[in-house]
Symmetry: C2
Subunit: 125 residues, 2 copies
């Protein structure tokens, strides 16, 4: 059970962002103490970690919100949610493959620099 400051420090997510996520309805499981202050526990930590794994792999907040809304509707949305995860997994894998392709271009550029350092001095990008 941590306060917003503690939870922010534990997770590396700023209090602003934590409140923002909650306001937008994508961070569930946040409790309150008697005076209205936020309390974060294991449940909110799990949610946050899940949200972060979607966010950090490029899912926009609007789509994460859709997922969370489906979750709140209950078991009847299980299939849809699974499909969302499958689609997202596909996109992430495609994106990683693409990134690795672009990385090759960067490596090629680095090879040119090495080549140039060995005395070959034509100017290159």
């Amino acid at each position: 059970m941590s306060t917003i400051k503690g939870f922010s420090e534990e997770t590396g997510i700023s209090p602003y962002t934590l409140r923002y996520y909650e306001r937008e309805g994508i961070l569930l499981g946040v409790k309150r103490d008697p005076s209205g202050n936020r309390l974060y526990d294991e449940e909110s930590l799990e949610w946050l970690n899940f949200i972060l794994s979607l966010r950090m792999t490029g899912m926009p907040l609007s789509e994460i919100k859709q997922y969370v809304d489906l979750y709140k509707e209950g078991e009847s949305t299980l299939r849809k949610r699974k499909q969302m995860m499958l689609d997202h997994k596909g996109k992430v894998e495609k994106n990683v493959a693409e990134t690795l392709k672009y990385l090759e271009t960067i490596n090629y550029k680095l090879a040119l620099y090495d080549f140039q350092e060995k005395g070959f001095t034509k100017m290159l990008p």
Copy 2:
């Protein structure tokens, strides 16, 4: 030698963005015809591809601009430019590793869905 429309279609980058990149000084090698219209050739294509490989791997335009400015200064900046590429390569590789870690979380979630489909029906995120 293509006009902005043709080049846009060839590369998939909108005319707006092509002009924007040029205005910001990150797309070099764009020529003009006698009446002032842009002409794109092999040189501009090479630049664009290079820029895109940086952009698509997450380098902000401001940093790409820095690189291009160094390039324009000539050979004296070779070492700096190489270092920028090395740093970026490191970041991209780190980011890919991180993404794959987050992908595992997503795969775990998918495994839970599979598990649930086989009759186990506790509600899960």
